[in-house]
Amino acid sequence: MWKNILKEDGSSLITVMAITTIISATLLIILSYLLIQTKHLHSKENYLTAKYNSEAGIYVYLSELEKYWHYQKWMRPVNRTININPKDSVLITAYPWGSFIHLESYSQKKDQSFKLRTYIGLNPSAVFNSSVVLNPKYSPVVLTGNTKIYGDMRTGKHGVKKGTLAGKPFTGSKLVYGEIIRSEVDQRPSIEKEYLHSLYTDFRLILSQNVTDNFNEIVSDTSTIISFAHSSNPIENILYITNKDLNLRNRHISGPLTLISKEKLTINSSLKLDNHIQILSNKSIIIKGKVNFENVLFYSPENIIISNPNYFEGQVFSENSIQINRNSRLDYPSVLVVYTEKDTGSIQLYPGSNVSGSIIYLTEKDTLLFGQYRGKIVIHENAQLNGLIYSDNFTTLSGHVNGTVITDRFYFYYSPTNYFNWINGATIDREAIKSNFKLPIFFKSSGNYLTPLYFR
């Protein structure tokens, strides 16, 4: 061609075609760039519209929930569309999830979609701003050793005093680094026992069902990643599981899903569970493998023991006792609940353990046993709770609480004596808790309003 160009002999068509191609390609690139830019811009606009619609969906649903709370609308799973404005709507999926309500809001705007997930909990009312709230019948509270209390303390009319234990006096320079509010009126916020009762009744009902679908029949032995993402709530899929199924390979099971068992479960594997899996067992549950659990819920009428998980964010419900062993960490918003008709159970945080969330011990009946054998929450030395302790029985504190302690009485045993309403060597710091800490939903009757825990 170049030879012909030089000769100027018969090359013009090819040259024109070549140059035209170059020009066309250049123009095409420019136009494509403009087109992509415009598309990107519209995508961004649609994405933001979908995002704001999803958020709007959460608040519209929350508002309805608040309005109809007393009709217990929350008890049934919800899957419906809500109109946000004349042009847009969102799909709302909600179901009770232990101490919270799980809520999803899905919005689509042309090519863009947005899904928001949150838990609905409660914004704490003013009484939760105190570091300690006690049954006013029992006062004074006696502080001994190096006990330190930061924040207001609500007690009976005899307030707080120093005490000496086995020759060792109270070492602090101040009794309470805050106000001591004395009152004969019980200022402890109440719990909607009805809610907890329904929750536990549901657990028992699910366990009593004659489930014929076995986990090992629908999942092959070689599967390591098993997803049930097609379900809209955990009750839609209820499977019978064995201890072997939970320890076979290092499986990753993703919900929503309910797994029930009639045998003692001991999880030793590096099992991974996420996206709303509840495991309900008639017998005790022991978790001691390097597990990764997120959005999980465990229920057992017997004991539940957690030892050193790799990651744990979830809720644990027992009718007897919960034990968080040494150096175990449970992330926010974890919740440990013992709700029992006996009042001799316990929730114990052993040395080095660290729990972020709420610990609740509640007795079904209103009249409690007398004496040292009553149910209790025990925070051992060097254990830490970031959040709320609520016990309608005893609380034994030797560790650290960043948050609020609401209890009938404090208690500890130092051989050979029982010390009622004494605190020995604990720290309670109300200011150290994060301001966005939210309560479980069964504190609703105490004037707390519904709120999302986070947006994900």
Binding site: E8, A56, Y454
Partner: protein, 125 residues
């Protein structure tokens, strides 16, 4: 076919130099023209839209995070362009509708428009 090919290979109308010169002239005219038209048609509008979307998002987030639940109107200048940002709060019972509009000041045309709903007594994250 062979004849046609032969014919196109030995065209003797314009010389390559003539064609090249005409193409260069064409390029000198067409390329800036295309850019100008493209700029007029798309790029200028896109830039305005990008800025407006950015401003609307910024205002919406500011309003939500700071719980600034009252009407507001202000101007902002980006690269010499004057934008008017309007925040409108409408009460709908226990819920409020937050509407943010961004206009190019001299054109009075809405370039970006977002709305969402909130419950004023709820905390944000």
């Amino acid at each position: 076919m062979k004849k046609l090919y032969y014919k196109s290979d030995s065209e003797s109308g314009y010389t390559v130099i003539e064609v090249l010169v005409s193409l260069i002239i064409l390029l000198i005219v067409v390329i800036p023209l295309t850019q100008f038209i493209g700029y007029l048609l798309s790029d200028e509008k896109n830039i305005e839209k990008i800025n407006a979307t950015y401003l609307a998002e910024k205002e919406m987030e500011h309003c939500i995070i700071n719980r600034a639940y009252e009407n507001n109107k202000f101007e902002e200048i980006i690269n010499g362009r004057h934008y008017l940002i309007k925040r409108n709060i409408e009460n709908k019972g226990d819920i409020i509708r937050i509407k943010v509009e961004v206009l190019l000041l001299n054109k009075n045309k809405i370039l970006a428009n977002f709305e969402t709903l909130r419950k004023p007594d709820f905390s944000e994250f």
